[in-house]
C-alpha cells in the first residue's frame, strides 16, 4: 500500500508551484522530526496528554500532505480508547513516517 494518497499529494503538487511545494515538504519534515521527538519524550515521561497532543498534530500535518499511512497511525496514537500501547504503535508510526518522506521526496523529484 502506498504511503501517500495520490489524490491529495498530487493535487497539492498541482495547486502549488514547485518551489512552494518543496518548502511545504521541508516544513512537514521539520514538523515530523519535532513531533516524533515529542511523542518519544511523552512515552518516556508517561505524559499521556502530551503524547495525544503530539499525535493529533502529526495526524493533521500528515493528512495535509496526503501521508495516509502516517495519518492512520497518528490517529491510533491520539485515541486513548484504543487498546494498543505506545510501544506497539510508535514503531509502526516511525516506519510510516519514513515511507511518507521517501514518497514525498520522490514526488518532488
Amino acid at each position: 500500500m502506498s504511503a501517500l494518497d495520490p489524490n491529495i499529494a498530487g493535487q497539492l503538487a498541482e495547486d502549488l508551484s514547485p518551489d512552494v511545494f518543496r518548502m511545504i515538504i521541508a516544513t512537514f519534515e521539520e514538523d515530523l522530526t519535532r513531533l516524533v521527538k515529542e511523542l518519544e519524550t511523552a512515552v518516556l515521561t508517561g505524559d499521556q496528554d502530551g503524547y495525544e497532543r503530539a499525535a493529533h498534530s502529526l495526524a493533521g500535518a500528515s493528512a495535509a500532505v496526503g501521508a495516509v499511512g502516517l495519518e492512520r497511525e497518528s490517529r491510533i496514537a491520539m485515541d486513548h480508547r484504543q487498546p494498543e500501547p505506545a510501544a506497539t504503535v510508535l514503531p509502526r508510526l516511525l516506519t510510516e513516517a519514513k515511507a511518507a518522506l521517501e514518497a514525498l521526496h520522490d514526488l518532488i523529484n
Binding site: 491529495i8 497539492l12 495547486d15 518548502m23 500535518a61 493528512a63
Partner: protein, 457 residues
C-alpha cells in the same frame, strides 16, 4: 476580491499550505498559532475572514468564535476541521461560523468557500449600511423614519466631527434644539458642556450678560461675577436658539465673538479666549430677515455655514404616528394610565391633521388625552377637538329666544371668560401652540396664557 484573512492554525505544515493558497488568491494574510494570538490580531487588524482550526493549544476554535463574537468582530469565520460530522458543523454554525471546510482541502475548495463567505459578508455589510441609512426610526433624541429625517440624520453625522457652525431652521416645534444636542452628543465635545440660550426669551438688557457674563459691580444688581453662556460652554457646544430675535446691538457683539473667539464679560477689561462650537436656530426665514435689515448680513454669513432644515411634521409622512406612539407610552407611564396605543380612527385622525405646531402640538394633544381619559386605547373621541376638524368650525351664534320667554343677551354677546378662552385658543392654534408668539399677538404676558391653560384643565 482581495481581502484580509486571519489564519488560525497551530500546525506549521497545515499553516504553510493554507498561506501558500491564500497568497495565490491575492489575499493579505496574518497567521496566529493560538486562540489568544488570534483574538488580539482580530481586534487590532479587523480581518474580513478568519480561518479557524478547531483544536488550538490554549482554547478551542469554538471558544475562539465565542470570544470573537463577544469582542464584536464581524469577520466571516470559516472552521477548518478534520471531523466532518453534522454535530461539529451545527455547533460551529451556532457559534457564528459562516461555513466549514474539511481537512485536507484543495485550493479550489478553499477558494470557493472563502469567496462565498466574503461575498455573503459584503452583502450583509451593504444591507446593514442601507438599513442604517434608510431605516433609522430613532436618532439621538429624534423619532422618525421618513426620508426627510434620514437626510437630517446624515447631515448631523457628517458635520458632528467638524467645528463648523450649524444653522438650524424649521417651524416651531420641529426639534431644533434636538439637532444641537445630537450634534453635541455625536461630536468629540460630548464630554464637555452643552449650553442652550434662547435669545428670544431673555430681555434685551440681560442678553449680553447671559451670553458673555459680567463682573461684580458691572451694573446695578451685579452682586457677583457671572460666567455667561459662552464661557460656560468652553470646550463644548453653545446653542443660540431664536437667534433671529437677537437685538441689533447684540448682533455686533456676537459677530465680534465669532470672529475673534474671545469674550469680554460685561464690566470686564480683558478678553478671554473661548473654544465653543456654535449652533444657531430660528423659526424665521433668516435670509428674509437679512433682506429686511433686521439681521446683520456679515453675521449671517458667519453663522450660516452648514444649514440644517428641519421638515415640518406634516411633511414627514408616518413619522407622526411613530412619535405619537412613543409619546403615548411615556405619558401613560408618567400619569399611571393603561393606554397601550390608538384605535384605527384615532390613528387616522392623527395622520390626517396637519399639526401646525409640529411635535410640540402632538405632545400637548396627547398629554391632554392621557390626563383626561382612561382605557387601553386612545380613541378618536379622546383627541382634542382641533384634530377632529381640520378647519375650525364656524361658531354658532346663539339664536333669538322664542317669544314670550325672558329676553337673552343680544346677538354676539357672550361671557367675557368665554371670549377670552376662545381668543387665546385661536391665537395658540394660529401660532402652532407657540405660547410666546401667541402672547405677543394678544399683547399679553406669556405667563397669563400658561396660567389660564392650567386653570382650564
Amino acid at each position: 476580491m482581495a481581502a484580509r484573512i486571519l489564519l488560525v492554525e497551530d500546525t506549521p505544515t497545515q499553516a504553510e499550505i493554507a498561506k501558500a493558497m491564500l497568497r495565490e488568491f491575492g489575499h493579505e494574510i496574518r497567521h496566529a498559532e493560538t486562540g489568544a494570538e488570534a483574538l488580539a490580531a482580530a481586534v487590532e487588524w479587523q480581518p474580513d475572514a478568519i480561518l479557524v482550526d478547531l483544536v488550538l493549544p490554549d482554547f478551542s476554535g469554538m471558544e475562539l468564535m465565542r470570544r470573537l463574537k463577544a469582542a464584536r468582530i464581524e469577520a466571516a469565520c470559516i472552521v477548518l476541521t478534520a471531523h466532518g460530522s453534522v454535530n461539529t458543523a451545527v455547533e460551529a454554525m451556532r457559534e457564528g461560523a459562516t461555513d466549514f471546510i474539511l481537512k485536507p482541502y484543495t485550493a479550489a475548495r478553499l477558494r470557493v468557500t472563502l469567496d462565498n463567505a466574503l461575498e455573503k459578508r459584503q452583502l450583509r455589510q451593504a444591507l446593514d449600511a442601507a438599513q442604517t441609512q434608510l431605516g433609522r426610526a430613532r436618532f439621538h433624541g429624534f423619532i422618525g423614519a421618513s426620508p426627510a429625517m434620514q437626510a437630517v440624520y446624515r447631515t448631523i453625522e457628517s458635520v458632528a466631527g467638524s467645528r463648523a457652525t450649524v444653522f438650524v431652521t424649521g417651524e416651531s416645534g420641529t426639534g431644533k434644539e434636538l439637532v444641537a444636542e445630537a450634534l453635541h452628543q455625536a461630536s468629540s465635545r460630548s464630554g464637555k458642556p452643552f449650553i442652550a440660550l434662547n435669545c428670544g426669551a431673555i430681555p434685551r438688557d440681560l442678553l449680553e450678560s447671559e451670553l458673555f457674563g459680567h463682573v461684580k459691580g458691572a451694573f446695578t444688581g451685579a452682586t457677583d461675577n457671572r460666567l455667561g453662556a459662552a464661557r460656560a460652554a468652553d470646550g463644548g457646544t453653545l446653542f443660540l436658539d431664536e437667534i433671529g430675535e437677537m437685538p441689533a446691538e447684540m448682533q455686533v457683539k456676537l459677530l465680534r465673538f465669532v470672529q475673534t473667539g474671545s469674550v469680554t464679560p460685561l464690566g470686564g477689561t480683558r478678553p478671554e479666549t473661548v473654544d465653543v462650537r456654535l449652533v444657531c436656530a430660528t423659526h424665521r426665514d433668516i435670509l428674509a430677515e437679512v433682506q429686511a435689515g433686521r439681521f446683520r448680513e456679515d453675521l449671517y454669513y458667519r453663522l450660516y455655514v452648514v444649514p440644517v432644515v428641519l421638515p415640518a411634521l406634516r411633511a414627514r409622512g408616518e413619522d407622526v404616528l411613530l412619535i405619537a406612539r412613543h409619546l403615548l407610552a411615556i405619558y401613560a407611564r408618567e400619569e399611571g394610565k393603561d393606554f397601550s396605543g390608538f384605535d384605527a380612527e384615532a390613528e387616522a385622525a392623527i395622520r390626517a391633521y396637519p399639526w401646525p405646531g409640529n411635535v410640540r402640538q402632538v405632545q400637548n394633544a396627547l398629554r391632554n388625552a392621557v390626563v383626561l381619559h382612561a382605557g387601553p386605547l386612545v380613541t378618536r373621541a379622546m383627541l382634542p377637538g382641533l384634530l377632529l376638524h381640520e378647519a375650525a368650525p364656524a361658531r354658532v351664534l346663539p339664536q333669538a329666544p322664542p317669544s314670550g320667554l325672558p329676553s337673552g343677551p343680544p346677538l354676539g354677546i357672550e361671557p367675557l371668560a368665554v371670549s377670552e378662552r376662545r381668543l387665546i385658543l385661536a391665537a395658540l392654534e394660529h401660532t402652532g401652540q407657540d405660547v410666546p408668539r401667541a402672547a405677543a399677538l394678544l399683547e399679553i404676558n406669556p405667563s397669563t396664557i400658561y396660567r389660564k391653560l392650567t386653570a382650564w384643565k
